[in-house]
């Protein structure tokens, strides 16, 4: 069963109201001025949507059958505060973009960006900007979406948000971002795409593919792309990354240390090794990106169902396909061949499943039953 749903597949819009108003600064109440200021926190301000009206609806949810290796209670119990409070990491709610030929001066061709293409509209979101915000509430191809990024798990995922917006809850589970929606105040796990606390517990968000690639590669593929600028409405140390660097890879992104205990651990790979993960009703799979680069295509099965993951060299990314009829998928050194016909990596005549680049420890932590291909 595919989990890649089109925008038209967005039923079950849940309506609810109420935005949490927490003023927890009493916990650090010895600093009187700070405490006073804390009670004047911006979370008291009315939250408005794209059209300026108050947000009262939750994001669209969909019926999905995904592996659930933990109960909602277990996930809720395992969640913890990373330090910043709700919206302490501010989402970008009014993103500004530049043309591909006039990108932010700090953005190098080898810097990672998160690419989105929806309805013919292409946008790139630089990692060095999102590391300070984690969520961009945007509109791409006339679809209201949220592009999300968790630095600690190296995951970037896109969600349809309807009339709602997502914000950063400040809490983590398995080191991974827990978002909240500003309509129903439900907490959503990013990797699981699932409500873990609040009115929409156990509901699933509707996702779309986000591609982790580099600016140079994305621009080459999508010359008309727009790119997110540093005009986010927030003053941040753009260019500085509190965790390390990706170009070249250093610090937290490269070493073996984890900031928080994972839900489950496995030592087959370096914990920060990048895998292309996918999940569906069949189960979960992970393909080490290094193996994918080497072989061009990696095949395996999830349960009894064959899967193929195809490598796109131009974007350095992988596309995961469900292959229930066990068609022949090969890479002949220059092209991908399915049943004797050549195809592009992103256009195999199979059922595409959303793939997520993730650090191995994070993917395994959420999906300990994951099948490793390659």
């Amino acid at each position: 069963m595919s989990v890649a749903l089109q925008p038209t597949d967005m039923p079950d819009r849940h309506e609810s109201v109420g935005v949490s108003r927490r003023c927890f600064f009493g916990a650090v109440g010895s600093v009187g001025l700070a405490a006073l200021a804390g009670c004047l926190d911006g979370s008291f301000a009315p939250i408005s949507g794209d059209d300026g009206s108050a947000i009262t609806s939750a994001p669209p949810t969909v019926d999905r059958s995904l592996p659930e290796e933990y109960t909602t209670d277990e996930l809720d119990e395992a969640s913890l505060s990373g330090g910043p409070g709700k919206d302490g990491i501010p989402s970008i709610d009014e993103p500004e973009f530049a043309a591909a030929d006039d990108p932010p001066s700090r953005l190098s061709p080898d810097d990672p960006v998160f690419g989105v293409e929806l309805n013919g509209d292409a946008k790139a979101y630089p990692q060095y900007v999102l590391v300070w915000h984690e969520i961009v509430n945007d509109v791409v191809g006339d679809e209201a979406v949220a592009v999300t990024y968790c630095p600690l798990t190296g995951t970037t995922q896109g969600f349809y948000r309807g009339a709602s917006e997502f914000g950063v809850s400040g809490r983590l589970v398995n080191s991974n971002l827990i978002m909240y929606d500003r309509g129903s105040d439900t907490w959503w796990s990013q990797v699981l795409a699932r409500g873990i606390c609040g009115p929409h517990e156990r509901a699933y968000l509707s996702e779309f593919q986000v591609t982790w690639t580099t600016w140079g590669q994305w621009r080459e593929r999508h010359p008309e792309t727009a790119v997110l600028t540093e005009n986010t409405g927030h003053a941040r140390d753009y260019g500085g990354d509190p965790y390390g660097q990706y170009n070249p890879r250093t610090g937290y992104y490269d070493d073996e240390s984890l900031l928080f205990d994972p839900l489950a651990s496995d030592d087959r790979f370096h914990p920060k090794k990048i895998v292309v993960g996918a999940r569906s009703a069949d189960g979960a799979l992970a393909v080490p990106k290094s193996a994918l680069r080497e072989r061009g295509v990696v095949v395996g099965s999830v349960g009894d169902i064959p899967y193929a993951t195809a490598y796109d060299e131009e974007l350095d990314t992988g596309y995961v396909y469900r292959n229930p009829n066990d068609r022949s998928v090969e890479f002949d050194g220059s092209a991908l061949i399915v049943d004797d016909n050549e195809y592009e990596a992103d256009g195999l005549p199979l059922e595409r499943v959303i793939g997520v680049d993730a650090m191995w420890f994070a993917w395994y932590g959420f999906y300990p039953s994951t099948e490793v291909h390659g």
Binding site: V28, S175, S257, F260, D261
Partner: protein, 200 residues
């Protein structure tokens, strides 16, 4: 007489001593110089530790101010850190101007400066009773470690230390704990300064 009233005069005396010693520190030029020097240094270290100050020699000089700074300055970004309302690049350092962070930093830097100023007086007194700079310096550490960025405490990310829930709770209390310890240290050192002798 109750136990409470028996112990009551001591804290009062200690508070009086602390106020008198603190006043002396700011009256004497040499100790005031210590306060200012240490205070400025600590403020810079504090802002650096919480991520508001960074070396960015490659950034061109510029000043960016966010919309609605008076509202934004009160929005929290961590247990005891607040939104920056401006970004100042000097060509050498980058300063994220968060008025509340600077206020908190100034208050703590002032306390650290007074601690070290008092310690200086105690050390230079002919009748100094063996006090070192240790208590003031030690007391200044917790607040420096209190900074959190994005998903966790800076110091844990930098050292690659795994955080437990208990440790994270401790980090939320570091700043107020630091303030309390600084006050305690101030009172302790003040008790070792002979104000009458040092005034002369």
């Amino acid at each position: 007489m109750s136990t409470w009233t028996q112990f009551d005069p001591a804290p009062r005396r200690r508070i009086d001593e602390t106020i008198a010693a603190t006043a002396l520190v700011v009256r004497r030029r040499d100790s005031l110089a210590v306060v200012i020097f240490v205070g400025i240094g600590y403020l810079a270290a504090f802002l650096w530790a919480i991520g508001d100050l960074a070396m960015r020699p490659s950034a061109a000089p510029s000043l960016i101010i966010v919309d609605d700074p008076l509202v934004r300055m009160f929005q929290r970004t961590g247990p005891a850190s607040f939104e920056a309302v401006a970004l100042l690049d000097t060509g050498v350092v980058r300063l994220l101007v968060s008025p509340i962070d600077v206020t908190i930093g100034l208050a703590i830097a002032g306390l650290v400066g007074l601690n070290l100023g008092l310690t200086y007086l105690a050390v230079v007194q002919p009748t100094a009773c063996g006090i070192g700079a240790g208590s003031g310096l030690l007391a200044s550490v917790p607040a420096l470690l209190s900074g959190t960025v994005c998903c966790g405490p800076v110091i844990l990310i930098a050292l690659g230390i795994q955080a437990s829930g208990l440790l994270l709770t401790l980090f939320a209390w570091l700043l107020p704990l630091g303030v309390v310890v600084l006050f305690a240290s101030l009172a302790y050192v003040a008790g070792r300064v002979d104000v009458a002798n040092a005034s002369s």
